[in-house]
Symmetry: C2
Subunit: 257 residues, 2 copies
């Protein structure tokens, strides 16, 4: 079998430890790894792309771990640039991560890590976002080990078009992971509040703060899986149409005419 | 009946003509309009939020059209700030637009306009994104007129939690609109390519260019509706779980154990 040709990106930046650990583990299953990642941290950039300014690309050697391309753009920019220019026609799988911190619930709308995977899906490639849940004490090794074992048993090339997997791994040693679960994106979201301050010139500015609201305690929900020690694997799509509401409104539509 | 209390935002910036036209039309149905919008254009920011720097808020008078708040952030920031701080507890409906240019198909993942509406949905408010299809020759008046007529017949407060409407209006006089259609987000997306150049110092940089691929000619698709002269109304959700793949993988999951 030919080796998997993997594109790696992230949103914590090309110098972050999560991406280095990921690359070192992926080397165990393939020699065909390309890293194209933001030059600096781009967390919470959502699915932003850079359209008004050009993208600079710089080859960088990251410690002794890998040679990669640093880009002054977002994860989505990196994936576009890699698939359409730098490595056109020679990528089988896009992996975005390993993020330092969870990407669960409706939070994933803000996630640069997830947007890297969604961009891969948009461009027709099987794609994975992978995150380590506890940002204060991440265990990138167990997440990376889970991923390569998962890729051995799951034929990722069969992932349907326009879909991706959003994987979250609890921060604990690999041997202490309880297993994995297929989950749904939950309603886990933030209740934001703002702290108002005055700058030295009398202008008001606001710091955004937030606390998590978890209101989907079902067994299938992504955050319950990781809370219980399981790896959460959520199949996600680039299509936002609300199917139920679509059908309801189609009925209403008839009465409008 | 109490008047609708409407929050207006956009991604073209608070000084853009689309938002002024929207506000002027909304004045016909309510006096309770609050505008909180980015200080400058924030197109293609996706669902980015600002987490590392504070947000500055400045009250501005836009021509003689309205008094609003300009924020050095994204549309999602503006909605969070408005709903949680500036106008906490006193908004019934979030409207993001009128965008100068279409937000159709998988493109909507990149859309700041749509992310403004999705943020409203996340925060539990009925929300609408509205865009004028032809950015070279927008007709904001017809889009605004459509919207206020739509709000007269459609009880927007009944929109289910966590959903929003993504509305795209063809650029033509209101009397020449053929009607409206409930649609699905299509596969309309971009085939990107990159033009490589050298800067004066010998470094390579890339301009992203793109052409639209339209490969969903079904009657229900968003772009076919506007192509045929109809207003497209797509019900969208903040949940990305791919239901079909979820069910398939749940079956596979059993064989893993």
């Amino acid at each position: 079998m030919d080796e998997l040709r993997i594109l790696v990106t992230n949103d914590d930046g090309i110098m972050s430890p999560g991406i280095a650990t990921l690359v070192n583990y992926l080397k165990k299953i393939t020699n065909e790894i390309t890293v194209v990642a933001p030059d600096i941290e781009r967390s919470a950039t959502g699915h932003a792309i850079t359209i008004r300014t050009p993208l600079w690309v710089k080859e960088v050697s990251v410690n002794k771990d890998f040679l990669g391309y640093a880009v002054n753009g977002t994860p989505a920019d990196c994936v576009k640039l890699a698939l359409q220019a730098l490595k056109r026609g020679s990528i089988d799988l896009v992996i975005s991560g390993i993020n330092n911190g969870a990407n669960l619930g409706t939070d994933i709308l803000y996630s640069g890590t997830v947007s890297g995977a969604l961009e891969g899906a948009l461009m027709g490639k099987p794609s994975i976002a992978i995150s380590c849940v506890n940002s204060n004490n991440p265990n990138f090794e167990s997440a990376a080990e889970f991923l390569i074992n998962f890729l051995k048993v799951f034929d990722i090339k069969k992932l349907p078009e326009f879909t991706a997997l959003n994987i979250n791994v609890p921060s604990r040693p690999y041997s202490e992971l309880k297993g994995w679960k297929i989950t749904r994106q939950s309603k886990r979201r933030y209740n934001d509040y703002f702290e108002a301050r005055k700058d030295p010139f009398g202008n008001t500015y606001y710091w955004m703060l937030g606390e998590v609201i978890e209101d989907d305690p079902s067994d299938d929900s992504d955050y319950m899986a990781v809370k219980n020690g399981y790896v959460s694997i959520t199949p996600i799509s680039v299509f936002l149409t609300d199917q139920k509401l679509f059908e309801e409104l189609k009925e209403v539509e008839k009465t409008w005419r």
